[in-house]
Amino acid sequence: MNDLVVVGEGLTGLFAAWLAAKRGARTTLIAYGRGGLELSSGCLHLASGASPRLGITSSRLPHPYALVGVGTVFRAIQALFDLLEASSLPYSGSLDTNLLLPTAAGETIAAAFAPHSLARSDLAEHGPMTIAGLTGFRDFDAALASRRLADRLERSIATVDLPLPGPAPRRDLYATDLARRFEDPHWREETCRAWKPQLIGVRKLGLPAVLGLRRHAVVLQAIEEALELTVFEIPTLPPCVPGLRLETVLREACLAAGVDVLEGAKAVGRVDGRGSSARASGVVAMAAGGPQLHDAGAVLLATGDLLHGGLVAQQNGLIRESVFDLPVVHNANRATWTSPHAADPQPYASFGVRVDASMHPLDDRGEPLLPNLYAAGGLLAGARRTDEGSRQGVALSTAWRAVEAALP
């Protein structure tokens, strides 16, 4: 019998399962596929603007931040930080200012916390910098990364195309392929030797984020020593390595803490009893042979939004929650879900499940539907995480609160 079943293997689900297992709960994490960390730069976006703290504290209901409070955000981040430090994946940042980070398209994004290798870009520092592309690597373009950035920062940014050693690969390489190659010390040495002559006089070098997966810290240090300059990373098109580093740390932390991780199964919720005595008894997971019941003292839905199937948007204008068929705050007129412009805020982004301060999904009267059912992360209504720059902040803080509430 599980104390907690977590559904969903994104940042929210992994973090929640890890927290629960560390508190001694028998925890099973069930996921239909992996989550969005592969699309993520690995940064922790809390709230854009001058001060993340201010952005969080000025959130109003029904925003999840208003439900959990800035203290919870801080505690959640601190817990994650400790894990990251212990896993050789240090982050920098603060709750009070946003770091400005360069992107592969020459824009900047703001994040409260970022992996060291990204934060070292330190755009506030005015020294010269060079951005390098890697020959044959199509998912990062140094010209695109530098042109607009130079214009915005009003200084010149040099670019260079650095070669990759060895014969031309027989297919296009992804960021993960390069990251694995960089973990081979021989390949790394040969690469640095080839690069050095092209980097004479360069002090600060921006590279696509391909400097190792599991052994990132070692790779980064080795490259900097060999090239004798400061290196920073810029996230590439997916598969995005800094996001995958974070995912790997969290997944392994879950496994080490004794979480049963079950990938590949779609989950459907089970409810026992009726009316006021109704409880979530667990979930039924669709295994290869057929349905399998997983009993649970509590169930936490971390299934995400429309992208990963926590919410399903139908042609007829209805939006459904995919595990317990919970009520979803949304607009039933399909034509209003999207804005005409891709870059504008999108109405569909705020659709989701309404919860109370304990992360219980609510019915139409505002009452918790089931005493032992919880929801967290992108599944929740009220947040427009892309537009607000609150993606990871909402994920981590609501996961924290949900685990707190689910495990007395």
Binding site: L39, S40, G106, T108, Q315, T338, A343, T386
Partner: protein
């Protein structure tokens, strides 16, 4: 202002205009063709890709049917690489009028459209997704035709024969002299420069804009605009063109073309040639009609929706016209005769399958006016060397797997297998291209991910290659254009794709400002 003179000025770079220019070139006539946008941005580039057997018109418009049947065979000789020989089916669903198929077959015989009844079990084996309850099925000579390929071939051929094709050149005014049209003032939309083009004759083949162009000479053309919406499904649900065997109506055709299958189409009267909006009910209707052909189609991914405008000659004005009932045959108007304004000939309507014939008929009016007696040679002059095979679906993947010079080239658009060399050639061949132009030429960004990856990759290449590109290589504008076609289908998996793309653009790449206006 710079000026040049030519014999024939053709306004409009769709299949009609290009066909006319091509025909003229082959008669030794000096031609300048001007097109306000890129090749394929008008109606010719917005259709469902059907090379008609003629079956759709045997009862409603028999002369058109006969023309289609004949021109179908001609085009197969002229441009085989733009055509996939899918074959076609006319299928009667259980609820369709039971007497229609026999009448239809008789009409096929009368009009010379090849049609043969086929065994339903064999049809279902060949096309396993089709409705198992179909009543009857007939085989016809439909095929799918890539209009972008065709239009590009025409451009290349015209230029190779000394004709001029000016893209992104818009006609500001028609030059008049003593009540006759003697040319046009044409502005280069990229540079803002205008040129006087003097011509012995001007042909107005401007499609949905024909009324606007004719008005420049004071001619009021009664043209009705019918907007048709189409939906591309993300994969080949069928490998044969499938038509409903019933009186023509909305959503009764499914065309496999390239890597997608297209559901077509609706017909809505519109006022403006730029009105390409798509209503939710049109998409719902197309999917509901297609359900009859492919049960459960709504569970398949709808890739994208777009619309095209059909210009139809409407001699007697009628309130709220049902544009579908108007004959689709083309109309050629020599304004010297019709309006006392010589020097201008307008051609309106028609369908892509018969473009060559239409051009020949226009030239029958035009050539004598130019004092040229040379006959039409388009039916016997292939647009590229003969002996080339029909287009086949696997060919892009086959080339990549078995490259002529290994290693295989870098793939920029993975969905549609567009390579870096393809892109570099296109960037060199097109004047001042943006990513959307490259898309039309190469199918860049036309696959399931709708440029989520290749937009960035191609933008980088564009940035490095062009003289004065936008700072983002045109990426934001391209993504916005892709967004437009996804919005009408924004539910289910298509909404997932849209959000995926948006998340990369906004959160990974930081593209949050509205793009510069196209």
């Amino acid at each position: 202002m710079p000026a040049l003179s030519t014999q024939l000025l053709v306004i409009g770079g769709g299949a009609t205009g290009l066909g006319i220019a091509w025909d003229a070139c082959l008669r030794g006539i000096k031609v300048v063709l001007v097109e306000q946008s890129d090749v394929g941005q008008g109606t010719s580039g917005r259709y469902h890709g059907l090379l008609h057997s003629g079956g759709r018109y045997v009862l409603s418009d028999p002369p058109s049917a006969t023309d289609c049947a004949r021109e179908n065979e001609v085009l197969r000789r002229l441009a085989p690489t733009t055509i996939e020989n899918t074959g076609g089916l006319f299928v009667a669903a259980p609820a369709d009028p039971a007497d229609f198929p026999d009448r239809w077959v008789a009409a096929c015989q009368q009009t010379g459209v090849a049609a043969e009844e086929v065994n339903l079990a064999a049809v279902l084996r060949r096309e396993p997704l089709l409705n198992p309850s179909l009543a009857r099925a007939f085989q016809v000579r439909d095929a799918s035709l890539d209009s972008f390929d065709l239009l590009h071939l025409l451009c290349t051929s015209i230029r190779a024969h000394g004709g001029q094709v000016w893209l992104r050149h818009k006609v500001n005014r028609l030059l008049m002299q003593a009540g006759a049209v003697v040319g046009a003032e044409v502005v280069n939309l990229a540079s803002g420069e205008s040129t006087h083009v003097g011509a012995h004759l001007v042909v107005n083949a401007a499609g949905p804009w024909a009324k606007t162009v004719a008005a420049l000479a004071g001619v009021d053309l009664p043209i009705a605009l019918g907007r048709g919406t189409m939906v591309a499904m993300a994969s080949r649900l069928v490998n044969t063109v499938v038509n409903r065997c019933k009186p023509p109506s909305d959503g009764d055709i499914l065309v496999p073309i390239g890597t997608v299958s297209i559901l077509g189409t609706t017909d809505e009267h519109v006022e403006s040639p730029d009105d390409l909006t798509i209503a939710a009910w049109e998409v719902d209707l197309l999917l509901a009609e297609a359900e009859v052909l492919v049960p459960g189609i709504a569970a398949h991914r709808a890739l994208r929706a777009w619309s095209g405008i059909r210009p139809l000659y409407r001699p007697a004005p009628a309130a709220g016209a049902e544009t579908r009932e108007l004959p689709r045959a083309h109309t050629i108007l020599d304004h010297g005769v019709t309006h006392g304004i010589p020097g201008l000939v307008s051609v309106i309507g028609g369908k892509l399958t018969t473009f060559r014939l239409m051009a020949e008929q226009v030239m029958q009016v035009v050539a004598p006016r130019l004092g040229v007696a040379a006959p039409c040679r388009t039916a016997d002059t292939p647009l590229e060397p003969t002996g080339r095979p029909y287009h086949r679906l696997p060919h892009r993947l086959g080339h990549l797997e078995h490259p002529h010079d290994p290693p295989a080239p870098q793939v920029i658009c993975e969905c549609e297998l567009v390579t870096r060399p393809d892109l570099e050639v296109a960037l060199g061949a097109i004047e001042a291209p943006d990513l959307d132009d490259l898309r039309r030429d190469l199918r860049l960004g036309m696959g399931p991910c709708q440029a989520a990856f290749c937009g960035y990759r191609a933008a980088g290449i564009t940035l490095r290659t062009l003289d004065a590109p936008p700072m983002d290589g045109g990426l934001a504008a391209f993504l916005q254009e892709r967004w437009r076609g996804l919005r009408p289908l924004a539910w289910g998996h298509t909404l997932r794709q849209l959000e995926f793309s948006r998340r990369i653009a906004a959160e990974l790449l930081g593209l949050t400002d509205a793009p510069e206006a196209p």
